[in-house]
Amino acid sequence: MLPLIIKRIAYALVIIAGIAFVVSAMTKLVPGDPVDVMAAGNPGMTEADKARLRTQLGLDRPMLDQYVSYLGNALRGDLGTSLRQRVPAAQLILERLPATAELTLWSMVLALSVATPIGIVTALRRDSPIDTAGTVVAVVGVSTPSFLLGVLLILLFSVQLGWLPASGYKGSVIAAIPKAIVDGRFDLLWQKVRYFLLPSVSLAFGLMAVNARLIRSAMIETIRQDYVQFARAKGVPPRTVVLKHAFRNAIIPVITMVGLQLGNLLSGAIVAETVFAWPGIGRLSVQAITTRDYPLVQATVLITAVLFVGMNLIIDLLYQIIDPRMRHG
């Protein structure tokens, strides 16, 4: 197991260095630089002013030079300084990462906790009215652009009904859980949860649909396996057959997909972050690109990639727990 992890980490490092290189190269291909963007709103700035600023910001160094020193610094944990916000890029990311990470987490939890029962039931009752209803919900889910769903949710639950806040992030739910349990302050917990509800629903809706379908087809595939039949032939009750024999095997392919989806969520949260004014790294990275804040672009892409690779590493390890066949070789 350990050599495998080392091998995976080595791969991951190569991939991440590659991503850093591609981003560096792309930033050179992109027309316009941060100074152009700054000058765009300030017609009074002359070409001489711009040239002076470019030199002061170090934008005139050759790309390879910048890349090599960047990699060196990155290995030491220095991800560079934002050209626009003038603070370390790592700081900006760390401020916003928890909001995105937690939104991603809850969306996935929500998506899976709804998708799993739906997927199982529709697989067991294939071609029944329940299955059809499940299909319809899934199709509507994947066919609704998440920004539209987000705006609709706000109009309904905030503006019309006034039940939930329209937007914003008021701190971590996970951090509030211990306090809720120890001090019984569930009201405080609810104050945080309220803000999570609409964004996670809008983000989870499509995923829920996709995962319900995935789980359904994995379950259909598993149910017709001999070992499930054999379990029934042994007189194991249906609930146990489904959960212990079929589901545990069915989630193996689903877990791979969930790993990929988590990666997409990290960057896909951009849309939800925009709609719900969520202070996450998705918005930060979009802003970094539009304002040509290259060090920040580099840093957000790198951090997202590292997270993605890390998450998939964890999922590989999870595999070994769930699937004994993966433990050797």
């Binding site: 294939r126 070992y227 039949q229 379990a231 032939a233 042994k234 004994p324």
Partner: protein, 324 residues
Amino acid sequence: MSTPLLQVHDLRVEYASPRGLVRAVAGVSLSLDRNRILGLVGESGCGKSTVGQALLGLIQPPGRIAGGDIRFENRSLVGLPEREMRRLRGNRLSMIFQDPTATLNPVMTIGDQIAELFRWHRPRMRRKEVQTRVTELLERVGIVDADRRSRAYPHELSGGMRQRVVIACALALDPALIVADEPTTALDVTVQAQILDLIRGLQAEHGTAVILVSHDLGVIAETCDDVAVMYAGRIVESGPTAEVLARPRHPYTAGLIASRPSITAPDQVVRPIPGTVPDLANPPVGCPFHPRCVRAVAGCREGIPALSPTREEPRHAVACPLAA
């Protein structure tokens, strides 16, 4: 003798498929006494495995038992509530599947998979005792170092070992009837013999009745007391194994025997049966075998021939008017 252990009367199983209704079993009747081994033989898709599944009540949508009756230990299994049926499965009736690799759950240890039977059928048995019984069973099916092996996962065992585990599961609660569905097909030839010996030995020891489903006449000949030949969802010939194999009456049985290479007479010409198994969603009119039958006459297209005893040997029955 008292009533037979198992009596199947006019069993019908149908599957709904996008291509139409498939009559996988179209009226099968058979009976089996304790301590006997019955062979069910036929080409793939003739419905022999479906009969085995129907016996254990394992037919699932889109399939259903469309008619007939199954009497086992004096109760009718057709229409028995699922809860009752479940009490019988693995307990009085058990099953050995074809591919031991696919039969065992890859994510559970083999010990757990055997122990499960005790858990659901002998809920009051203590954990420790279950463990002892599991080890005992594994030893009985010829697995050495059984205690350690019970903690292994299926992929850590060889194919033959896995099938032994499956057999251990089937035997665990001393069932009255074991349905063995092609138990040796997926195994190496040398292992096949061992497994057949094992089944036979255990059967003799416990007096269990066995239905052995196989496409291989060699396996049937070696193992079974009686044989039933199935074609297109029906039994076309049945009787004591020696009698049927020595004097096949149905042209299909004869074809099966002729198409089988013989070790004892290697120079004998192998003659395959021409044509293919009929589409059960759309079976031929009349005797289902007539399109492939070398002896077919015009009358074969009219009416499905019934299984009737031959004059010489009443236990030998055949469903072909030309042969009876």
